[in-house]
Subunit: 301 residues, 2 copies
């Protein structure tokens, strides 16, 4: 019995064949949309491998879309550079690299990742095409993580995807309170220390980059301490899906409530109080959802 | 700023170097434990790529363990055969292939997957080493999906991992009722048809393989219709983590309650009643958890 077309969402050959000629845009209203280098992305299947082909529609998708949950019946062996793209994109989306950060010098970075400089360079070109990094040549140059467009651009992008954004918040509400409760139950001294550092960093966050990094560190540390690997991965996936919306909630609006909420979650975990941790995380996510709905009152009911 | 060691669980070089000489066992009490072919698995990092290296302990792990949630700061470019192993393992763990099923003839299968016969053969050797498939040579031969050991062996394995199993049930309780509610909200005729087929198949299931496949089809169809990709993936991951435990709940004990529960969920989705769907899925998972606890009364409290 051959496996049926996996999750029932086959990528048709036609869709595959169509994909490479579609422009990848950093947002439908972004001024600097770029056409992907046709020589670089030779194979349509590569597009799926590097997450640029939407599994459901078969169309090229915007770079912030979800990782592909379907396993098509054909396997795709990713090229080295595509693996590097996926790795770095994830680091950026999880807030481990923030806007304005510079990647290490090419030689050093390639060595650190364990890939060739040619492979790294190809990967950086793709990320540049996606608008995630900006390469400045010359002596003072380097590869910088780009800011995520103007606030107005980001807002338009989130408005278009509002159903997805609210679905992700609903998903977070299902999983993150559980993660907090379990982290409290399995309370470890190292976790408490890490969470305290994240709260301190959040308190002193001075821009969207430092805010995003401290916020991510907090939520991922909670998830990692929940002692349930599929739950940890789910929190990471939700985080990645929220990459744009979280930046829209301009950090100076959200900051005070976020610091207070994170402090309450930290205290409950420190006190080994699962129910308090669950309630504090629940309240925190509901507050964020409320903030999103307040920003987009027309469509959100 | 270089990314910190990702989720803070670095795989040390020592651990990596140690891994390949450890035997991969199909269970600590399985009689047919095998030593992995040293020539096949040349690189320790490959072990992680193909999911046999536990990220937390740095030790080789049993094949049923969770997919690795960590992205180490070194990237691992998987070999073609490792990608095929991952793909087929997932198909088996998601119940799309069931015990006793035969894989398509090598030439046809390789073509279908889009890989070379040599690559497919290497992948099948790994799966054979993991005890997931059995290769019979000769004219009437072929690659068969293996049954998962005796009931007694499986029980011992689950007993040892009981904390993980109950954690996964807790995770399922957080996400699957949400998936059911959202599937009811977004009710589609095609989904209802697929769910009805799965219930019919479940009703007529005559062995663990057909049971597992129909059960998986039902839960994954619900998840796919929840219109939230990270949620869909979370249900898949939980399913994979429950691969062994679900087989332990001998299908003739579970079957009547499962058919009834699935029918109730289907009816609620058909009726576009999110709250009824949520409640029915919630009750179904609580019942399964109860059945697991009843099978292992000593350790589960």
């Amino acid at each position: 019995m051959p496996p049926s077309s996996s999750s029932g969402m086959p990528i048709t050959r036609d869709a595959r064949a169509r994909a490479p000629v579609m422009p990848i845009r950093t947002g439908s209203d972004a001024p600097d949309s770029v056409l992907m280098d046709q020589n670089l992305v030779q194979s349509p299947m590569m597009w799926q491998a590097i997450g640029l082909l939407d599994c459901k529609t078969g169309h090229a998708r915007e770079f912030s879309a979800y990782p592909c949950p379907v396993s098509p019946s054909r396997v795709t062996v990713p090229a080295a550079y595509a693996v590097v793209v996926e790795h770095l994109r994830r680091e950026i989306q999880l807030g481990r690299y923030a806007p304005g950060d510079k990647l290490p010098p090419e030689r050093e970075h390639a060595e650190q990742l364990g890939v060739s400089r040619v492979t790294l360079r190809e990967a950086v070109r793709v990320l540049e095409g996606e608008g995630l990094v900006h390469v400045r040549r010359g002596q003072t140059g380097g590869t910088m993580i780009r800011a995520r467009g103007t606030s107005a651009q980001l807002r338009r992008q989130v408005r278009r995807r509002l159903d997805d954004v609210l679905a992700t918040q609903e998903f977070r509400l299902a999983i993150e309170p559980l993660a907090a409760a379990r982290a409290a139950q399995h309370r470890k001294a190292a976790a408490v220390r890490e969470l305290r550092t994240a709260v301190t960093d959040l308190t002193s966050a001075s821009d969207i980059g430092t805010f995003r990094r401290a916020d991510s560190a907090f939520h991922l540390t909670v998830a990692r301490n929940a002692a349930c690997p599929p739950l940890e991965r789910a929190v990471e996936d939700a985080r990645i899906a929220m990459f744009e919306p979280l930046d829209v909630l301009a950090f100076d609006i959200v900051l005070p409530s976020a610091v207070e909420a994170h402090q309450a979650i930290l205290t409950a975990i420190e006190d080994r109080d699962p129910e308090a941790a669950r309630a504090a995380m629940d309240a925190h996510i509901r507050t964020t959802t409320g903030e999103i709905k307040a920003l987009f009152p027309a469509s959100a009911s």
